[in-house]
């Protein structure tokens, strides 16, 4: 018994070391962003490249606070509203839809499934003009709503396709038991099925949020007021007609990762437990 425990412990350490090595390799580009953001523009272009900044340059971080009429904090708020809005729409619509796709046979189901696939097949660039015209007529052009509505169209089909599998993996007996206990279809869905498929719902919510968070094309095209634009719009402060300011741009990337990373760390307990809770417990 003791020996076995030691063996598990040893395995634990080997796996952990391996995991950290993997992490270092996979996150190297992120490290490189951080290093680049702390170099001077001259050092960034030095041959051969340097692995760490020889002259520490923090000027590019100071520049993030205020550049032109772009306000970092305000745009962070905008991004948060847009991403949360898109996430809420995507999850509320996709959860019942995916359940139906997994459980029920109804006319036009295949067609609908194809519809969910087709609607995300066109490249964003050709969607922009017709969407713009539509939002103009709906009077949501140049407001957060336009970006929320557009960003949700990325999250919905994704969530439907992913969640479908979760609902399909739930044994029917559970549902049947709920009906025997006096639930109707809606209450059974809400009380029994959603809690079981929690891990899938959490993953879909995360991806819907991140898709909307990283979106640049919709937010930039449908919102013209700098004060309402999402955070990603800040890229253009350092990427213009006459080239890219590398240290500023990478500093922007670092600064813009921090709030999302904080959200993730803060909510890690919920997210990870959500993501990994077994769908079916024995």
């Amino acid at each position: 018994m003791k020996e076995e425990k030691r063996k598990i412990n040893k395995q634990n350490i080997i796996y952990s070391i391996l995991a950290i090595i993997l992490l270092c390799v996979l996150l190297f580009p992120l490290f490189w962003i951080l290093v680049t953001s702390l170099k001077t523009e001259q050092e960034i272009f030095q041959i051969p490249p340097t692995f760490y900044p020889h002259v520490l340059n923090t000027k590019s971080y100071a520049a993030q606070i205020a550049t032109g009429d772009f306000n970092m904090f305000q745009s962070f708020g905008n991004s948060l509203i847009i991403a949360l809005g898109a996430m809420v729409i995507a999850v509320t619509l996709a959860v019942p839809a995916s359940y139906a796709m997994a459980r029920y046979q109804f006319k036009g189901k295949k067609l609908m499934l194809l519809g969910f696939l087709v609607t995300q097949m066109l490249p964003v660039s050709v969607l922009l003009t017709p969407m713009f015209i539509m939002f103009k007529h709906m009077h949501v052009y140049n407001t957060w709503y336009s970006a929320i509505l557009a960003d949700a169209t990325i999250g919905i089909p994704f969530s439907v396709l992913i969640l479908k599998n979760y609902f399909a993996s739930i044994p029917r007996e559970l549902e049947e038991a709920a009906y025997v206990d006096g639930c109707n279809r809606f209450t059974a869905f809400i009380r029994v099925l959603i809690p079981i498929a929690k891990s899938g719902v959490v993953v879909c919510a995360i991806f819907s949020f991140l898709y909307a968070w990283g979106d640049l094309a919709y937010g930039m095209t449908f919102i013209l007021d700098q004060q309402k634009r999402p955070m990603t719009a800040g890229i253009f402060n350092f990427m213009g007609q006459y080239g890219t300011k590398w240290s500023y741009l990478t500093a922007f990337a670092v600064v813009s990762i921090i709030p999302v990373a904080l959200i993730f760390i803060f909510m890690q307990k919920y997210i990870i437990s959500g993501m990994t809770s077994g769908a079916v417990k024995g």
């Binding site: 962003i33 490249p49 490249p123 990870i272």
Partner: protein, 299 residues
């Protein structure tokens, strides 16, 4: 019991559950798709975008594309790019998912951290990869040179083949967390008892993987692959920023070529036609996906 059974049979309640989401997509994306198809049958350029008549020239745009060497190249590139990315990121993602599914101390936090690439706007990811792959100031060449793999700097982004490889590499980097997380969560839906009874039966690890893990994950794998295919097939920002289709049009994808035609050369109808070619390919792949998935469900 009969009542319960009837419950699952042909039932419009499913429609009720699914319809809101479907309607949403129909309104916001269905209209753009239709308007895009109409546009591709017309002759809209900058000269008649606002004023002047828009003529229907039906398939002429498509006929021109068939003769267009850049279009053909872009078509082939998109397929090559998608297949390579999908295969590589799926295998790595799957391996990582299985690895992090093991119970060891840092598994959960490390897996969480691997989501980080998703928090950076793709434009910045593309720029940093362009920088990593640069010939003289790029860190990759420097590392490869210092560990002796290459003796002379590789011109990654100025040669067609290596530029494609660099693009695939960058896209795989973005795709790995996507595959890993979705497969990880798929793994959690497999009941542990299945593995326990398998080990009692004396099955080895490979056998349980093939006999239990893969079949149980089938629908997850199918979804991940089809979604990955769609997202990779319409890749845009990454290619546009890293190579803008160069060197000499050798890395143009359908989406970047469509963008270039529409918004740089103001040939809107032709740009739409390219986008529709993309749509057709995805439609074929999508129908194939639906046939295989629903077949499994009915039996």
């Amino acid at each position: 019991m009969k009542k319960v059974k009837k419950f699952f049979q042909y039932d419009n309640i499913g429609l009720l559950f699914a319809f809101p989401a479907f309607l949403y997509m129909l309104v916001f994306v269905g209209y753009p798709i239709i308007s895009n198809i109409i546009l591709s049958f017309q002759d809209v350029t900058m000269k008649n975008l606002v004023r002047g008549e828009k003529h229907f020239i039906w398939l002429q745009n498509y006929a021109e594309l068939v003769r267009d060497s850049v279009f053909k190249k872009a078509f082939f590139n998109t397929l090559l790019f998608t297949v390579c990315c999908l295969a590589i990121q799926f295998v790595i993602g799957f391996a990582l998912a299985v690895f992090f599914n093991k119970d060891f101390k840092v598994a959960k936090p490390v897996r969480g951290l691997l989501m980080m690439p998703w928090m950076i706007p793709i434009t910045i990811t593309a720029l940093i990869f362009k920088f990593i792959f640069a010939t003289d100031v790029g860190i990759l060449n420097y590392i490869l040179k210092s560990i002796g793999i290459i003796s002379k700097n590789v011109e990654w982004l100025t040669q067609p083949d290596t530029a494609m490889a660099a693009l695939i590499c960058a896209n795989v980097w973005i795709g790995i967390p996507f595959n890993m997380i979705l497969i990880s969560t798929g793994l959690t839906t497999i009941p542990k008892e299945l593995y326990e009874s398998a080990s009692i039966d004396g099955a080895n690890k490979l056998q349980t993987f093939i006999k239990i893990t893969l079949p149980m994950l089938r629908s997850t794998i199918e979804s991940v692959l089809i979604l990955g295919f769609i997202y990779t097939f319409k890749v845009y920002d990454l290619v546009y920023v890293m190579t803008s289709g160069g060197p000499v049009n050798s890395t143009h994808m359908l989406s970047t070529y469509s963008y270039k035609l529409s918004f740089e050369m103001f040939q809107y109808s032709k740009g739409s036609a390219v986008a529709n070619a993309l749509l057709v390919v995805l439609l074929i792949v999508g129908s194939f996906y639906i046939r295989t998935t629903t077949k499994g469900e009915e039996t």
